[in-house]
């Protein structure tokens, strides 16, 4: 093959271009410190690195979420501790007043102190962090507990604000105040402020009031419609000085609609006070199926009684007779759900759970029962405090896990993205030397010609 000046020039140019390109490439890597400077350098690595970068961003976000939640939980824990302390103090004071030797003046002074503790507790329950009330549920813009003359009402809601602490899990950041301080939705729940108020009343020589609220509800297969409104669930039970807290429900009850379909009858109870309520359902024998007459439905805690659907004794009945919840103790304060209210047109029926009626009874037993309720209240708060502690613990664990995850992600990304400084530097000097050698040899080869020697 003949080598011509043209081909030497082309080859020299080509080689120099290549050498320059390699030097420029490594130079870019040295200055940016990155292995990938354009997507085309390594498309898979580049998109993977971007993916990892967004993973890092979410890790940082989870960390921020945790940092945001922690003060709430810490404050909740602290305030629960304060209230527990108040209850413990109240119990000490009450125990000091147990003896009949205490004068009524001493008791009234203690009552004043109890009142102060109650106010302190309400202010704890109205704590806010960063302008958000920690016990308000979603309604955290306003103080959730209002207090007037020792009567405390909750104006917050049941909302639980949750926050994302990693890709797969969320952490509830608050506990609604009605659960903590009123026992709503808690099995055996105690109204903390109620206990304090009753204690105060009893120490002042008054009588504590027990209330039982009841909602009669038909099962969920009954769809909303006409026929059953709160106004329909009229009870005749009322405040009674002779209440002894002893009543029986009889056997399970089945409610039939006009086309003979059986429905469960559910009675929901919420109660305050220490007394155990006992009721029984007395109904037209046609509507009572199964069970043993005389079975006792005892309402010692808040809860639900379900009278399950039984046989079809009254199938096809177009009208129901009255169902009576019979207070056997006094034989007078019975709750009657009239047949009119339980008979339905067609198969569309209302199932209004707010059909509530409230019974109130005065407990004249003095403050001894209140001591037990204070213990129950402390237990209740302890349970919530343990829950908050567990959540705080979880934030710590998550933080640790996120740290580990973050450093491994960063290491992975660095491996993909960052230039290996040592090898890039050695490449750089190698290519630089190659370029110098190419330039030098090119200069000599291009100059050389036979003409130089023909003189």
């Amino acid at each position: 093959m003949r080598i011509t000046q043209q081909s030497i020039t082309a080859q020299v140019n080509d080689g120099l271009q290549q050498a320059y390109r390699r030097v420029a490439k490594t130079q870019e890597q040295v200055t940016s410190g990155l292995r990938i400077n354009h997507f085309s350098d390594d498309p898979i690595g580049a998109t993977r690195a971007l993916d990892l970068r967004s993973v890092e961003a979410s890790i940082a976000q989870y960390q921020r979420n945790i940092d945001n939640t922690t003060p709430f939980l810490t404050m909740t824990d602290q305030k629960l501790g304060d209230v527990i302390e108040g209850l413990t103090r109240a119990k000490e004071l009450a125990l000091g007043m147990v003896n009949d030797t205490n004068t009524s003046l001493e008791r009234q002074q203690t009552a004043k102190e109890i009142h102060q503790i109650l106010l302190q507790m309400v202010s704890s329950a109205n704590t806010n962090v960063d302008n958000r009330f920690i016990f308000g549920g979603f309604k955290n813009g306003l103080a959730p507990f209002t207090q007037a003359g020792g009567v405390v009402n909750y104006i917050g809601d049941n909302g639980v604000v949750s926050t994302q602490i990693d890709a797969a899990s969320t952490l509830p950041a608050n506990i609604p105040g009605n659960q903590v301080f009123q026992g709503t939705g808690v099995v055996g729940g105690v109204g903390v402020f109620d206990v304090m108020r009753d204690l105060e009343t009893v120490l002042n020589g008054g009588s504590a009031t027990n209330t039982l609220s009841m909602a009669v509800n038909l099962d969920s297969s009954i769809v909303a419609g006409a026929g059953f409104t709160p106004a329909n669930a009229v009870g005749t039970e009322a405040t009674s000085a002779t209440f002894l807290g002893e009543a029986n429900f009889t056997a399970p009850v089945t409610v039939f609609d006009s086309i003979g379909q059986a429905h469960n009858l559910t009675v929901l109870f919420a109660k305050t006070g220490a007394t155990t309520f006992k009721y029984r359902v007395v109904a037209n024998s046609n509507e009572i199926t199964g069970g043993t007459p005389g079975d006792l439905y005892q309402v010692s805690t808040e809860g639900t009684l379900v009278f399950t659907a039984g046989g079809a004794l009254n199938a096809g009945a177009s009208t129901l007779t009255d169902i009576t919840l019979n207070n056997l103790a006094d034989g007078a304060n019975n709750i009657t759900i009239t047949a009119a209210n339980l008979s339905f047109a067609g198969s569309t029926h209302s199932a209004d759970p707010s059909a509530v009626l409230t019974l109130a009874q005065t407990d004249t037993n003095g403050f001894n029962p209140q001591l037990g309720r204070i213990d129950a209240a402390i237990n209740q708060l302890d349970t919530f405090r343990a829950e908050v502690g567990a959540r705080l613990n979880r934030t710590q664990l998550s933080t640790n896990a996120l740290e580990v995850f973050k450093s491994s992600t960063m290491a992975q990304r660095s491996k993909l993205e960052d230039a290996d400084v040592l090898s890039v530097y050695s490449d750089f000097s190698r290519y630089q030397q190659a370029l110098q050698a190419a330039l030098k040899s090119a200069a000599e080869v291009v100059q050389m010609s036979l003409l130089d020697f023909l003189r």
Binding site: S40, P43, A46, N68, N140
Partner: protein, 423 residues
């Protein structure tokens, strides 16, 4: 050069040297043809490579749409942490506006890349037309010269250079007729036939606002060849302008439309700080086409941050963060409109596509260039001139001339001696 007819003197045969019969081009037809077709594919690949480099510039390696997207979702998370906070709401609107801005910029830069290609097409067609008419003129000249037995080497050299230009632009194939004229055909379109050249006219605009390529025969017949031209620089430019770049743009538009739709749907399910149901978060977009160019935060919402619907129920205001959390969850939701991918993955796959297209083209450009260099070197070894080689030949010829003149001098000397003997 041919050896001259010898003369016979006294029974001796005397050489008469050589005679110049003509100057011929030293070319290897195989290499020439190979070189032309390589010019076509290098032209194609080079045009695609530079176009993809332009597209790649629309997507910075960091701080692009992916960063704006994750900032947006971070701001949503912050809002979930404090749904009643006004700073969080203002910050979220800021991040959403930045995301819209980044999308619009990227979209604009892709459109700019497309228009750039369109301009390239214009100048390429202009250059092609000139080359074609010159080839046609040279065709006529060569046929004229060679039919009169006149060598047309210079014309052929000129034509060869022009043919390289034409193949680089169109990937055309050439065929030489017996009378020395070449026929140039690209993608089934006759560009040069004997002494007549066709032209490409790019003066007309298609409804899309881009230039149409009209093919005009020498006889004035004209039709749209925009979709017919596939080879060389012009084919690559058309392919990038009409297929590849629009594909990237459509993917980006699909991404933008899905983002806006899904955020708006979820946002409308929530309730704002005033307790009313959420309105549009982004200004709704009707069609996929052009979606990324019009992403913006709804002006009413941007003016009043309280209208961001973070709550799931009107009664949960202000502490309810469930709708904000649901909006954050869109980050990890897969959408059928995005081929079953999440927003982020969909965008990353677009980036991966751009990157690997550019990488593939760069690799094949490198390969084709080295192939071209090889063939050029081989062609050079046939047709090229090594000065030293010619110089040694020159010395050789000089020496033989010196030798011949020495012979003449010897003869002269002998004559001198002879003459002086007579005197």
């Amino acid at each position: 050069m041919t050896t001259a007819f010898p003369s016979f003197e006294g029974g001796l045969t005397l050489g008469q040297g050589v005679q110049v019969t003509g100057v011929q081009r030293v070319v290897d037809r195989f290499f020439e043809a190979e070189l032309l077709s390589l010019h076509g594919s290098v032209g194609f690949t080079e045009a695609e490579s530079s176009a993809l480099a332009g597209v790649q510039e629309s997507f910075p390696i960091s701080g692009g749409i992916d960063a704006a997207l994750s900032n947006f979702f971070s701001a949503l998370s912050d809002l979930a942490n404090n749904p009643s906070g006004l700073q969080e709401r203002v910050a979220l609107i800021g991040k959403a506006q930045a995301l819209g801005e980044t999308l619009r910029q990227t979209r604009a830069s892709l459109t700019a890349a497309q228009h750039n290609l369109d301009n390239n097409l214009d100048s390429a067609a202009h250059g092609l037309n000139q080359a074609l008419s010159q080839i046609a003129a040279l065709n006529r000249q060569i046929a004229l010269n060679e039919s009169a037995n006149q060598p047309a080497n210079d014309f052929r050299d000129q034509r060869q250079v022009l043919l390289q230009d034409v193949t680089r632009l169109t990937g055309a194939t050439t065929r030489e007729d017996p009378d020395g004229q070449v026929t140039v055909i690209a993608d089934g379109l006759l560009l040069v036939g004997e002494g007549r050249a066709a032209t490409l006219d790019t003066s007309q605009l298609a409804p899309s606002g881009l230039h149409m390529v009209m093919y005009q025969t020498p006889d004035g017949l004209s039709f749209d060849a925009t979709t017919l031209l596939r080879g060389g620089e012009i084919g690559a430019t058309l392919n990038m302008r009409d297929t590849q770049v629009p594909a990237f743009t459509t993917t980006l538009d699909q991404f933008a439309k899905t983002l806006v739709d899904e955020v708006n749907i979820q946002h409308a399910l929530g309730f704002d700080l005033t307790g009313t149901a959420g309105g549009s978060f982004f200004t709704p977009i009707a069609a996929v086409a052009g979606a990324a160019a019009v992403v913006q935060v709804d002006p009413t919402l941007a003016a009043d941050p309280r209208l961001i619907a973070a709550a799931q129920t009107s009664t949960g205001v202000p502490g309810d963060n469930r709708n904000a959390l649901a909006l954050v969850n869109l980050q990890s939701t897969t959408f059928a409109a995005l081929g079953g991918m999440t927003l982020k993955d969909h965008f990353l796959s677009l980036l991966g596509n751009v990157g690997s297209s550019a990488q593939t083209i760069d690799n094949s450009l490198n390969f084709q260039k080295s192939l071209l260099a090889q063939v050029q070197a081989r062609r050079e070894s046939v047709s090229g001139v090594n000065i030293d080689e010619e110089m040694t030949k020159l010395i050789l010829f000089q020496r033989s001339f010196e030798a011949s003149s020495r012979l003449v001098r010897t003869a002269d000397d002998m004559y001198q001696t002879l003459i002086s003997m007579v005197r």
